[in-house]
């Protein structure tokens, strides 16, 4: 079920009440309840998806037990390989089979040969890319002896299927989340209030920002050939807001929901559009995925050790694989490659770790230099996002070609739409709030905490009313669900 749906609005309070008034009294009962609630949540899309997640859970629980039970390196590696093959095999088959097949067929056609093959006609289970990586991190950590294999299958099943973050992350490490299933934390009022606040902000980002931008983005990407460069630029910028609002909004709702149940999930977005360079952007965007690739792919490949060629190779691999993780389309691979091209120069001159603190930390306004850096980085990410959103490479190049054109200074007809101005004002308000709250884990974390209660509540009511009045409620799914 979608976070922005009536189904979830009913599910959450019922689950909350059952959890705190009954389930949380005993550990085993609590974990079993979480598994049941999570399977209900996940099965709401399609009950057939449950068999796959159950299968992954059983395989990885068992593989980790086997790894743990022996000190023999070869045996440990074999069991790890089983886990990798099963998980990546399932993911690869369901997600990438048709992509490889289509490209294979095209390659044959290029050489003048006909090749026919049946495509796989399956529905890609929602969230498979996320929970697969989550379970893999468990078996890898057990293999590396960073973590003891759990003997509690219910706790493990709860870790794998934990509904707040099951379908679109954050991709939680077992070292962080699994231990939270070994004990019950008591209800903490402030944590629950904080969770509600984060859910509120996540809903604002998704329903108001992302879904309002979506309309203009769809228009720009559907009618690319007929529009001025200025309109296409607006479409690309709006997509940057759409994907951020959508994805980070989901993460906020996930993290906030977890807090309602006393669980702590990792921050997944740290105000990436206030980054001063691409390296900083990638430390702030989809943190759980980029750190996963860093720890489980980049470092094992050698990381930044070795000669320049070696380092460039490793960076390219990470970004290309990261792009490919997002979808079975050359556009995602090119998107990853472009980001690699932007990142590598910084790495080579050792300037990839310049900006570790948030921009203008402790200050209200940024310097002109910082503003310039932020805008340039934003523009570069916008250009890359075109590939992410386009249907195919040809479409992406057409879009960019149409955008980088003398008509980029023409009056964009999209501005005749009165709703466009409302959306633009909302984007400005949103950006200001994000700016003011950039030193917190999420924008609303600290804003208003020192205000008189009346003003603080007025702000919350204001946000709720903005969501109700300006939000779009046509049940738009979250973009990252397709991954």
């Amino acid at each position: 079920m979608l976070f922005n749906s009536i189904d979830f609005a009913l599910f959450l309070p019922i689950a909350f009440v059952i959890y705190w008034f009954w389930a949380s009294k005993k550990l085993g009962r609590r974990n079993l309840f979480i598994v049941a609630a999570s399977y209900l949540f996940y099965g709401w899309w399609d009950w057939r998806f449950l068999s796959l997640i159950l299968f992954s859970t059983i395989v990885d629980f068992w593989a980790a037990q086997k790894i743990q039970s022996t000190e023999n390196k070869s045996s440990r590696k074999s069991w790890l390989t089983v886990s990798l093959l099963v998980n990546l095999g399932l993911l690869g088959t369901l997600k990438y089979f048709n992509f490889f097949l289509d490209n294979f067929v095209e390659l044959f056609t290029l050489f003048g040969q006909e090749f026919q093959a049946d495509r796989l006609d399956v529905v890609l289970p929602v969230g498979i890319s996320f929970y697969t990586f989550q379970t893999l991190s468990y078996t890898i950590d057990v293999y590396r002896k960073d973590l003891e294999a759990t003997k509690d299958p219910i706790a493990f099943a709860a870790y794998v299927s934990f509904f707040p973050q099951l379908v679109a992350g954050p991709i939680e490490r077992a070292t962080n989340l699994l231990p939270q299933f070994y004990s019950i934390s008591s209800f903490r009022y402030q944590q629950a209030v904080d969770g509600l606040r984060q859910i509120l902000w996540g809903l604002f980002k998704k329903i108001v920002i992302a879904d309002n931008c979506a309309r203009y983005v769809d228009f720009a990407f559907k009618s690319t050939d007929e529009l001025y460069g200025s309109t296409l630029l607006i479409g690309a910028v709006f997509f940057a807001f759409q994907i951020y609002g959508d994805f980070s909004g989901y993460s906020d709702i996930a993290i906030g929901t977890a807090r309602l149940f006393g669980f702590k999930l990792r921050q997944n977005f740290a105000f990436p559009y206030f980054s001063r360079d691409i390296a900083e952007f990638w430390r702030r965007w989809h943190i759980s995925l980029s750190t996963w690739f860093r720890d489980y792919l980049y470092i094992p490949l050698g990381g930044s050790r070795g000669n320049r060629f070696f380092v460039i190779r490793n960076v390219f691999i990470i970004f290309l694989v990261s792009g490919f993780w997002h979808g079975a389309n050359w556009t995602f691979i090119v998107w990853g490659g472009l980001n690699a091209l932007l990142f590598i120069p910084l790495l080579l001159v050792n300037r990839n770790r310049r900006h570790l603190e948030v921009v203008a930390q402790g200050k209200t306004a940024a310097s002109l230099k910082e503003i310039g850096q932020v805008l340039l980085t934003f523009l570069l990410t916008v250009l890359c996002w075109v590939f992410f959103r386009a249907d195919n490479l040809g479409h992406a190049f057409d879009y960019l070609g149409g955008m980088i054109d003398p008509s980029i200074i023409a009056y964009p007809k999209i501005m005749d739409d009165s709703d466009f101005w409302i959306v633009s004002v909302l984007l400005i308000v949103f950006t200001v709030i994000e700016w003011l709250g950039r030193e917190g884990l999420y924008a609303l974390e600290k804003i208003g905490l020192n205000w008189p209660k009346g003003w603080r509540w007025a702000m919350y009511y204001g946000i709720v009313l903005i969501i109700l009045i300006f939000g779009r409620f046509e049940q738009n799914s979250f973009i990252y669900f397709q991954f």
């Binding site: 009536i6 009440v17 209800f187 009022y189 009511y461 009045i469 939000g471 409620f473």
Partner: protein, 354 residues
């Protein structure tokens, strides 16, 4: 602090917003869901032989049921279709017959069945029926659920002993909690149209749509008089989103085909003279349908074969080029102008045996 306190505090603080939300939905009532007797008022005016204007969202199915149930005389011709059939009026048939147009927006097979059954349940047998066929008629995923207002009538067509009177309209009450309905109702409260009560019209051309005494429709002035460029713009904007009722049209649904055939066969068995009516798409929409929704033409082919097998007359096509119409003949992506509807019918006149 305990969860109990957290819940009670949250509910207390959320209550004003919740109450405001429900109140706006109820008092703004964008689609007049909570207005009682609206359809009855409209039907009363029509049945008195007068025109009615200033009507807004109403339950068209309940309105038609009110009209049919209170007819003094059985009309000689009945039109059962969607909004694309609503412009067929007494004059398009040269006033030869008494006519009642019972078309409802987005009519599905279930609607056509329910409407005809309503005639049967009220012991009316019209003799001649113009039955529409739409691009979405055989689409299981057409998202047309409005026929459920006449669910009892629909079900009793298949099982005459099983007429279930309408139950509690839970769908309607669910709108009290709908965020989309909140937005529409808030707009209605702030910028609404003043009184939305239907009123007797002095002539057919008004600032709002007008229902004629024969049940047909006359569009409002601005809509009828829109310039072709503006119409083109509207169509292109319309095509940015989902196309009306033909999204996810994967196959000609077997059950819907069977039900449509059953309706046709019942009409023929009851000795109705039957004509099937198809309206075309606007040229821009036709191009879109040809490229991305070719199944609608497969549906048309099915329909024409079904009709030929029964020696039934079919008037029209989804393809405007077959009817020699162009963009100027359309109000929008899928509604012909009155003049074109009249021309289409009269080209095929007499459509019923004299």
């Amino acid at each position: 602090m305990q969860p109990r306190s957290f819940i009670s505090r949250t509910m207390l603080l959320g209550a004003p917003v919740f109450l405001l939300f429900v109140a706006v939905n109820y008092f703004g009532d964008a689609s007049l869901l909570f207005e009682i007797g609206y359809e009855e008022k409209m039907a009363e005016i029509i049945l008195e032989g007068e025109m009615v204007e200033n009507f807004y969202d109403f339950d068209e199915r309940i309105f038609q049921k009110e009209v049919i149930s209170n007819l003094d005389e059985t009309p000689e011709v009945v039109v059962l279709g969607s909004s694309r059939g609503m412009l067929i009026n007494t004059f398009t048939l040269d006033s030869v017959y008494t006519l009642m147009n019972n078309s409802v927006s987005g009519a599905s097979v279930e609607d056509l069945i329910a409407l005809y059954q309503t005639y049967r349940l009220n012991d009316h047998r019209p003799g001649r029926v113009i039955l529409s066929f739409e691009p979405w008629t055989l689409n299981r995923n057409n998202e047309q659920g409005r026929w459920k207002s006449l669910k009892g009538e629909y079900q009793s067509f298949f099982d005459p002993n099983n007429y279930e009177p309408p139950g509690i309209p839970w769908d309607k009450y669910a709108q009290l909690f709908s965020p989309s309905y909140f937005q529409a109702s808030l707009y209605q409260l702030i910028d609404g149209n003043g009184s939305r009560d239907p009123k007797r019209a002095k002539d057919p051309y008004n600032e709002t749509n007008t229902k004629m005494p024969d049940g047909s429709l006359v569009y409002y002035d601005e809509y009828r008089e829109a310039a072709p460029d503006y119409v083109d713009q509207l169509i292109r904007k319309y095509m940015e989103g989902d196309i009306y009722s033909i999204e996810n049209f994967k196959e000609l649904d077997a059950e819907l085909r069977s039900q449509y055939e059953q309706l046709v066969d019942t009409l023929l068995a009851e000795e109705m003279e039957l004509v099937i009516y198809l309206e075309p798409y606007h040229p821009i929409m036709l191009k879109e349908a040809s490229e991305n929704y070719p199944i609608v033409f497969e549906a048309e082919r099915w329909l024409k074969k079904m009709a030929a097998d029964r020696s039934l007359r079919v008037i029209g096509s989804f393809d405007h080029t077959k009817l020699d119409f162009d963009a100027d003949d359309f109000y929008d992506a899928m509604h012909l102008k009155q003049s074109a509807v009249t021309e289409l019918i009269q080209r095929n006149a007499p459509i019923f045996a004299p």
